[in-house]
């Protein structure tokens, strides 16, 4: 069952069982909903941005272990970061998740430098071996990107 271990790393299961930053924010800078019509996963992200820094982030919603762990890990990765830095994390994460498209036949492990810069998030690298689950992993990230857009385009 080697494959399953690639998907369900211990750290993923930990974030799934004890998701970080659950809840809502009152009068957030942005509140954006995400939805995966295929499996029904839902997420609502609340961001508080002060002086260009994500001072707080909370999330509600439900979904599978991958989507829940991904959003939980995302929240810890961006909290306290500048909008600029958050964008970079998103880019790097999505790069990791699109590996499959680059090497269609066989999903390779991403190369080391990529992984290191992602920290804990690197645990999600195994998801690319399960193409149907990539959408689970990226749901929160796409929703976050939308939330950042909203903050940045606010008057």
């Amino acid at each position: 069952m080697n494959n399953l271990d690639d998907l369900y790393r211990e750290i993923i299961l930990d974030h799934y069982r004890s998701p970080r930053n659950r809840g809502e924010l009152e009068s957030p800078s942005a509140r954006v909903e995400g939805f995966n019509p295929l499996c029904g996963d839902e997420i609502v992200i609340y961001l508080r941005v002060e002086d260009g820094v994500i001072s707080d982030v909370k999330m509600t919603g439900h979904g599978c272990s991958i989507s829940q762990a991904s959003s939980s890990m995302m929240s810890t990765a961006i909290k306290g970061k500048t909008l600029e830095q958050a964008h970079r994390v998103i880019d790097r994460f999505k790069e990791m998740m699109t590996l499959k498209e680059r090497s269609l036949d066989e999903a390779e492990e991403p190369s080391e430098p990529d992984l290191r810069s992602l920290g804990e998030l690197a645990a999600l690298a195994g998801v690319v071996k399960f193409p149907v689950r990539i959408k689970c992993a990226t749901l929160s990230w796409n929703t976050l990107a939308q939330a950042l857009d909203e903050v940045e385009s606010a008057p």
């Binding site: 069952m1 399953l4 299961l13 499996c39 996963d41 439900h62 979904g63 599978c64 272990s65 991958i66």
Partner: protein, 411 residues
């Protein structure tokens, strides 16, 4: 044990030779779509290789053959259902969903006025909900829901109140989520006593229990080929001849007309009126073979077989997992079919299905197109395992083995 032999069915079913992740396929998703036997696949192959032509109006030999195959399938379906009016009551559609839309937009739009009530149940598939919502938008009908009780059965205690203003009762013969078999005959009596008609969504019940239309006093029936060992792309709408005769056309196009002038058109009579365009011909060839195959198995034997498997699975799941794996549906095998919606404590259904796939086990996670029902029980999704004629207790063995891994992995 009935005389019915699922092992013979397995040999007949090419998909069951598939190996996935080094394991033979443990197919437990028949409620979604069933695995066709070779005879069905070959009927389609033979049709395209030897007899393909557009039907009707053809004079040449192969066009006649195609027409005979197509109309022969209609007669075969009429026989399978024991339809009192024979083939003239069998309309080919593209599936249960189209059949329900045909019911709503032809019979419904012509017969229901603002304020008239269509009574469905909380355990309906979206195919028996959304068309009525659409008719509500256009015609102002009311859509009312029969509640589902804690025992996962229809709560008919308030049926007399529920029936107020009802012109049509439209319920599923068997729930595709709970496995609950509904008391259709009793509901038909109630409906008729109140001057209403009754439609049955037979997507699951026709396929797994069989339906004798000469014994069951219902007015409309809808079902799909692909859930009864037949092909995708075909379904059936059945109604009594007198009702069909008065129903206005549904979709417009070739075949469903008697005449078209620049200023208007005259519809055809009989099932043809509802079969606009080139019909699913190869699919009818396949469905014809499927009903012949099902008749050779015997629907009663098949239902009994699935009941046994279900009883066994219910018992073993309860024993093995000590409450960590909950079956969302009636706990006793009586009046239920072989659909086991599983709720595994602490493991999301998506993850359950993913882990089971590692064992070659096919179960379906999700809301199974029955969101009102899922909401009723406070669930976003379940992992649904469902049996078919080819299922064995050995499938349940693998299911339990794989569920054990899921429970262990998620601790």
């Amino acid at each position: 044990m009935s005389s019915f032999d699922p092992r013979r069915v397995r040999v007949d079913t090419p998909m069951l030779s598939r190996v996935v992740k080094g394991r033979r396929l443990t197919y437990l998703d028949s409620a979604s779509s069933s695995l066709p036997p070779r005879t069905v696949i070959e009927a389609i192959d033979r049709y395209y290789s030897l007899h393909h032509a557009n039907v009707h109006r053809g004079v040449y030999t192969t066009a006649n053959e195609a027409t005979e195959i197509f109309e022969g399938a209609r007669a075969g379906v009429a026989h399978f259902l024991n339809a009192p009016g024979g083939s003239d009551e069998v309309v080919f559609t593209h599936g249960t969903t189209e059949s329900m839309n045909l019911l709503a937009r032809s019979w419904g739009a012509a017969n229901l006025r603002a304020g008239d009530v269509v009574l469905v149940s909380q355990m309906e598939h979206h195919a028996n909900i959304v068309p009525w919502f659409q008719l509500r938008e256009t015609h102002g009908i009311e859509v009312r829901f029969i509640p589902v009780g804690e025992d996962f059965r229809l709560d008919l205690s308030g049926i007399d109140d529920l029936m107020r203003g009802v012109r049509l009762v439209s319920v599923t013969g068997m729930s595709n989520v709970l496995g609950t078999i509904n008391p259709v005959a009793a509901l038909a009596r109630v409906a008729h006593e109140h001057g209403a008609l009754i439609a049955v969504d037979g997507a699951q019940s026709v396929a797994h229990l069989g339906t004798d239309l000469s014994a069951l006093d219902i007015d409309f029936l809808a079902f799909s080929g692909h859930k009864m060992l037949g092909p995708t792309g075909i379904g059936v709408f059945w109604t009594r001849r007198e009702i069909l005769a008065d129903m206005p056309p549904f979709l417009g196009g070739g075949g469903m007309i008697r005449d078209v002038r620049e200023d208007g058109y005259t519809p055809a009579t009989g099932p043809t009126r509802f079969e606009a365009g080139t019909p699913p011909i190869a699919e009818a060839a396949g469905l014809g073979a499927a009903v012949r195959y099902l008749e050779s198995l015997g629907m009663d034997a098949l239902a009994a077989h699935e009941r046994e498997l279900t009883a066994d699975a219910l018992t073993r799941l309860a024993q093995e997992f000590d409450g960590r794996v909950r079956v969302i549906g009636p706990a006793t095998p009586e009046q239920r079919g072989g659909v086991l919606s599983l709720d595994v404590e602490g493991v999301h259904p998506h993850d359950v299905a993913q882990i089971l796939d590692q064992y070659g086990v096919c179960v379906r996670p999700g809301h199974h197109c029955a969101k009102p029902l899922m909401r009723r029980f406070g669930l976003a999704a379940t992992a649904r395992a469902s049996f078919g004629p080819y299922s064995l207790t050995a499938d349940t063995d693998v299911l339990i083995e794989a569920l054990g891994e899921a429970v262990k992995l998620f601790g």
